[in-house]
C-alpha cells in the first residue's frame, strides 16, 4: 500500500464511520477488523497490531 492508497483508506474510513453513525461505528469497526484479520492470514501480526493499537491508552498492567 503506497501513501496515496493509505490516504484513500483513511478518507473512506472517515466517511463510512460518519455514514453508519455514532451508534453503529464501534460495531462497524469491529466487523472491519475481523474481515481484515481473516484476509491478512497472519495471526502473529494481528495479535501484535491489537497490542500496538492499544499502546496509547495507558492500560492498567500495561
Amino acid at each position: 500500500m503506497n501513501h496515496a492508497d493509505l490516504e484513500k483508506t483513511y478518507e473512506s474510513l472517515a466517511r463510512k464511520i460518519d455514514e453508519v453513525g455514532h451508534d453503529n461505528s464501534e460495531l462497524f469497526l469491529a466487523k472491519l477488523v475481523l474481515l481484515l484479520a481473516h484476509a491478512n492470514g497472519n495471526a502473529i501480526d494481528v495479535q501484535q497490531f491489537i497490542n500496538e493499537a492499544a499502546e496509547s491508552f495507558d492500560l492498567p498492567g500495561g
Binding site: A30, K31, L34, L35, H38
Partner: protein, 541 residues
C-alpha cells in the same frame, strides 16, 4: 422446576414416574455392609453401579427420593456415552427411543448464518449425539440396575453422615422406619450438584459463575422439523437475547431462552410470562398449532469443580465433583465418563487385578477432562451470554459479519462434546513418538467398521492388545502368565492404516476403551510388562 398450575411435581404429560418403596427390615438385615456404597441413584450413580457390576463387584445404591429425578434435565447423550452404555449392556432401549442427530443451525435476526455438522459417516456405529429426556435415561438404566444381582437399591434412604473408619467408611442412613449404620469399604458420592456428601465432608466447588440467565421449558407440540439443534441470536421474539431449540422423543421440544438483565427471575418464571415467551418463540419458528406446557425452570451457567475428586475412601463422581454450563451438552456426558472411569478402576482394585495406586489416576484424568470442558463451555457461554461490553461487541460483530461471510459464522460453532484424551495420566504410558499418525496414548479408541463387525465389538472385558501381525500376537499370548488378563486381537491389514501400524506395532486398550499405550515396534515381553505397569502390579506383590 415448575409445572403448570394444578399439576404435581411428577404429573407429566407423557411419562409415568414409578414409585419406589423404602427397603424392608429383612432386606436391610440381609446386607449390612458392602464393598461399595453409592450415594445417589441418578444416571451417574446407576451407571457407576453397572460399571462395578461389570467387574463383578457388589454395590448398594442409596437414594433419598421415591422416584426418578425431577430436577436435573439433561437431554443430550454424546457418542462416547453410547459406547459406555453399550459396554454395560444397557444401550438397546436408548437406541430404540433416543433421537440421533448430526447437525445444528444458527440464525441471526432470522437469517441462517451457520450450519454445523458433527463428525459422522456410515462407518460410525453411533451418531455423534442423541436426544432423550433424563427420566427415560434413568428408566433405561434402572431396567439394567434392577435386573443385576450385584446391585441393591434402597430408595427413600437418605445418607446423613459419612465417617472414616479403619479400612473403610461408615454411613448413617435415615429412611421412613428409622436410622441405621452401613459399612462400605468405599463410598462413591453420585448425589449431584447439591451433593450432601460433599457438604458433609466439608468440600466446596470452586470456579466461575456466568451472569446470563435462561428459562428452560419443555413443551409438547406436533411440530414438523427434524432433530437439528437450532440457536437463534437476536431473534424478533427476544431482541438482544438468544434462544435454543431441541427436539426430544414423544413430540417434546426443549426451548431455552435468555432473560434480559432487567427482567427479574421471579417475574420471568410466572406461568403466564413463560406461556407468552414460549408463544412468541413458536411464532418466530412459524408454528401455529396447539401446544402444551410440560414444565419450566431457570438456569445460570457455572464452571465449578472440586480440587480433588477423592477424599480418602470417598470418591466424587458426576455433578457432585463439577458443574459445567449447558452449552455443549457436557454435564451428563462428563458424569457418565467419570462413572465408567471409577467403575473399572475400583473394580480392578477390589478384584486384586490392579494395584491400589490405579485409583490415584481418577482425579487427574477426570478433573483434566472437566477443565477441558470448562475451556470449551466458557467460550460457548461467552458467545451465548457475553457479560462485558467487549465480549458483546465482538460477538455482535461476528454475527453481523456472518450474514455474508461464513468464516465468521464458525465463531458461533458450539463445539459439542468429544471424548477427552488422558495424556500425562499415571494410568497411561508415554506416547511412542515413532508414530506419525493414528490415535495417541490416552485417546479414546476410534471405532472402525470391519467386514462383519465393529472393532469395538472385538475388545475383551479387560485390557486388549491390538496387534497387526500374527507373530507378535502369538508371542504375547505365550508371554502371558495365568494372571495376566490380556485379550489379544489381530487386526486385518485394512485397519492398520487407521492406526499407522506395521507388523510389529501394538496398541494396548484399557477396559474403558482409552489407549493405555502404543508402540510402533514392540516385543511380546514389553507388552506384558506395560500391562503390569499401567495396572500397578508392583502394589500387588
Amino acid at each position: 422446576m415448575v409445572r403448570p398450575a394444578g399439576r404435581s411435581e411428577t404429573d407429566s404429560l407423557y411419562f409415568t414416574y414409578p414409585h419406589f418403596d423404602p427397603p424392608s427390615a429383612a432386606q436391610k438385615n440381609a446386607q449390612q455392609s458392602a464393598a461399595v456404597a453409592i450415594v445417589g441413584a441418578g444416571p451417574i450413580g446407576m451407571t457407576t453401579a453397572l460399571a462395578l457390576a461389570r467387574e463383578g463387584v457388589r454395590s448398594v445404591l442409596f437414594d433419598n427420593k421415591a422416584t426418578f429425578n425431577d430436577g436435573s434435565r439433561a437431554i443430550c447423550i454424546a457418542r462416547p456415552s453410547f459406547y459406555i452404555l453399550e459396554q454395560l449392556g444397557a444401550v438397546a432401549p436408548f437406541l430404540e427411543k433416543a433421537l440421533g442427530w448430526t447437525m445444528g443451525r444458527t440464525f441471526y435476526r432470522g437469517q441462517k448464518i451457520l450450519e454445523f455438522h458433527m463428525p459422522d459417516s456410515a462407518e460410525e456405529k453411533f451418531r455423534p449425539m442423541y436426544n432423550l429426556q433424563q427420566q427415560y435415561i434413568e428408566q433405561f438404566l434402572w431396567q439394567s440396575v434392577n435386573a443385576s444381582e450385584l446391585i441393591e437399591t434402597r430408595w427413600q434412604s437418605e445418607v446423613t453422615h459419612v465417617e472414616d473408619v479403619s479400612g473403610g467408611t461408615r454411613l448413617c442412613i435415615r429412611d421412613p422406619t428409622g436410622e441405621y449404620h452401613f459399612d462400605a469399604d468405599w463410598t462413591l458420592a453420585c448425589d449431584g450438584a447439591h451433593s450432601q456428601v460433599r457438604k458433609m465432608r466439608g468440600h466446596r466447588l470452586k470456579g466461575e459463575n456466568f451472569e446470563g440467565r435462561y428459562v428452560i421449558a419443555d413443551i409438547q407440540m406436533d411440530h414438523d422439523y427434524p432433530t437439528i439443534r437450532r440457536a437463534l441470536f437476536d431473534p424478533a421474539c427476544r431482541p438482544g437475547g438468544t434462544v435454543l431449540i431441541h427436539r426430544q422423543p414423544d413430540n417434546i421440544w426443549r426451548i431455552d431462552y435468555q432473560l434480559k438483565d432487567d427482567e427479574s427471575t421471579e417475574a420471568a418464571i410466572d406461568e403466564n410470562a413463560v406461556r407468552a415467551s414460549v408463544a412468541s418463540v413458536l411464532e418466530e419458528l412459524g408454528y401455529n398449532g396447539a401446544w402444551e406446557l410440560e414444565w419450566w425452570s431457570v438456569y445460570t451457567a457455572n464452571t465449578l469443580a472440586l480440587d480433588d475428586y477423592r477424599d480418602g475412601r470417598v470418591f466424587f463422581v458426576g455433578d457432585s465433583a463439577h458443574i459445567v454450563p449447558i452449552f455443549g451438552v457436557r454435564g451428563l456426558n462428563n458424569g457418565l465418563a467419570d462413572a465408567a472411569n471409577i467403575g473399572w478402576k475400583l473394580g480392578w482394585v477390589l478384584n486384586g487385578k490392579a494395584g491400589e495406586t490405579l485409583l490415584d489416576s481418577y482425579t487427574p484424568e477426570r478433573r483434566a477432562a472437566t477443565l477441558d470442558v470448562f475451556a470449551n463451555a466458557s467460550k460457548s457461554a461467552r458467545f451465548m451470554t457475553p457479560n462485558t461490553h467487549g465480549w458483546t461487541l465482538m460477538r455482535d460483530a461476528a454475527l453481523s459479519l456472518a450474514l455474508s461471510h461464513s468464516f465468521a459464522g464458525e465463531l458461533a460453532n458450539p463445539r459439542q462434546m468429544t471424548a477427552f484424551t488422558y495424556s500425562g495420566s499415571p494410568a497411561v504410558l508415554s506416547d511412542d513418538l515413532a508414530f506419525s499418525a493414528g490415535p495417541c496414548a490416552g485417546a479414546m479408541l476410534p471405532d472402525v467398521k470391519m467386514s462383519d463387525r465393529y472393532l469395538s465389538e472385538c475388545l475383551g472385558e479387560g485390557f486388549t492388545v491390538l496387534c497387526f501381525g500374527a507373530e507378535l500376537a502369538q508371542g504375547i499370548t505365550e508371554a502371558c502368565r495365568k494372571e495376566d488378563l490380556l485379550t489379544v486381537v489381530t487386526l486385518p491389514d485394512t485397519v492398520a492404516g487407521t492406526f499407522a501400524a506395521g507388523d510389529n506395532s501394538a496398541y494396548l486398550v484399557r477396559p474403558d476403551m482409552h489407549i493405555a499405550g502404543r508402540w510402533q515396534s514392540v516385543t511380546a515381553e514389553q507388552i506384558v510388562q506395560a500391562w503390569r505397569d499401567v495396572t500397578f502390579h508392583t502394589d500387588l506383590v
